[in-house]
Amino acid sequence: MNRFDLTKRLVARLKRGEAVIGGIGNTNFDLWAAGPRPENFYMLGSMGLAVPIGLGVALAQPARKVFVLEGDGSLLMQLGALGTVAASAPKNLAIVAFDNGMYQITGRQKSLTAATVDLVAMAKGAGISQSDWAADETQFERLVERALAGDGPSLIGARIDAAPPAGVTERDAALIRRRFAAALAQKPG
């Protein structure tokens, strides 16, 4: 599967002002390339913090669904966050883990998921019982639909290829924050 393709499939299903947190690097680049949404937050740093930021949004606004998009290297950097999500049990939070087994943006060095680590098993072990690998695009869309329709938290794992991102996010942190906070001040649809 391909990160940009899956990101477009996810975004196409968001009709109610769902918040999306794009993790550092190629993950948020492809979210940016998938088209402008004021409810998107793009991380230009703080590797590993997409899940905590998403959890904060989810706790503050229980009526809004929140999706966190994160890569394998980033998720590996802050694995405790999976336990924090499970313990906090936000019904409105879904995590998408894009796993290509590498630190793609820094020169394709292998990550731990290329060796022994299984991120979905990690999430289940942390207590996020609705954690599944999407075998293909159709199942990915089904799991996204489940997250939109039902209670979370959940984690969707997707093994992706090593294609480069389809764009590069603009580098204006204050603008990203202002636009995101203003969008979240509106009621979800």
Binding site: L44, I53, L59, Q78, T84
Partner: protein, 167 residues
């Protein structure tokens, strides 16, 4: 009023409802009081970085929050402060129990303590050490109000003069 009660009252007066923390012995009465008070949503994650990230996300979604930690925990935060909190102009409140000075027996705390103020100064983060009981309410209230008015983080340092010195 005890210092920890004064902290919670000032947080309530500033509509701060989210408390994230990594445990610390000195902060234990504040943590217990926050857990016991239904005004606050309290989260104890695994690392200080997470605790600050949760507060950042919640603030952008309209809920004010504070992260409680000790000096060694603050030392894990420079990257997150420099690449999330400061550039995105997020008024994250931090309350730091100052360890490693005025009688601490932990060598690690003593060395890491010396990195705290230089890091805060380098990043241009407002900080103030509270030393006296009767200053707590004024300082916490003032720093919280200023943080939200200026979209800037703030570090409230609890000196051992406040938390350990006995009259």
């Amino acid at each position: 009023m005890s210092w920890h009660q004064a902290v919670l009252e000032a947080l309530k007066a500033n509509e701060v409802r989210l408390v994230t923390y990594i445990p610390d012995n000195v902060l234990a009465p504040l943590i217990d009081a926050a857990h016991a008070d239904s005004w606050f949503r309290v989260v104890c994650p695994a690392r200080e970085e997470e605790a600050l990230g949760i507060v950042a996300g919640a603030w952008m979604a309209g809920m004010r929050g504070i992260t409680l930690m000790q000096t060694s925990g603050f030392a894990t935060l420079p990257n997150v402060l420099a690449s999330l909190i400061v550039p995105y102009q997020i008024p994250a409140l931090m309350l730091i129990s100052e360890r490693g000075t005025l009688g601490d027996h932990q060598l690690g705390q003593a060395i890491v303590c010396r990195t705290m103020r230089p890091v805060l100064q380098t990043l241009g983060i407002e900080h103030f050490a509270i030393e006296r009981d009767d200053d707590v309410g004024f300082v916490v209230d003032g720093m919280a109000r200023q943080a939200y008015a200026t979209q800037a983080p703030a570090a409230l340092i609890l000196s051992p003069l406040l938390t350990k010195k006995r009259a």
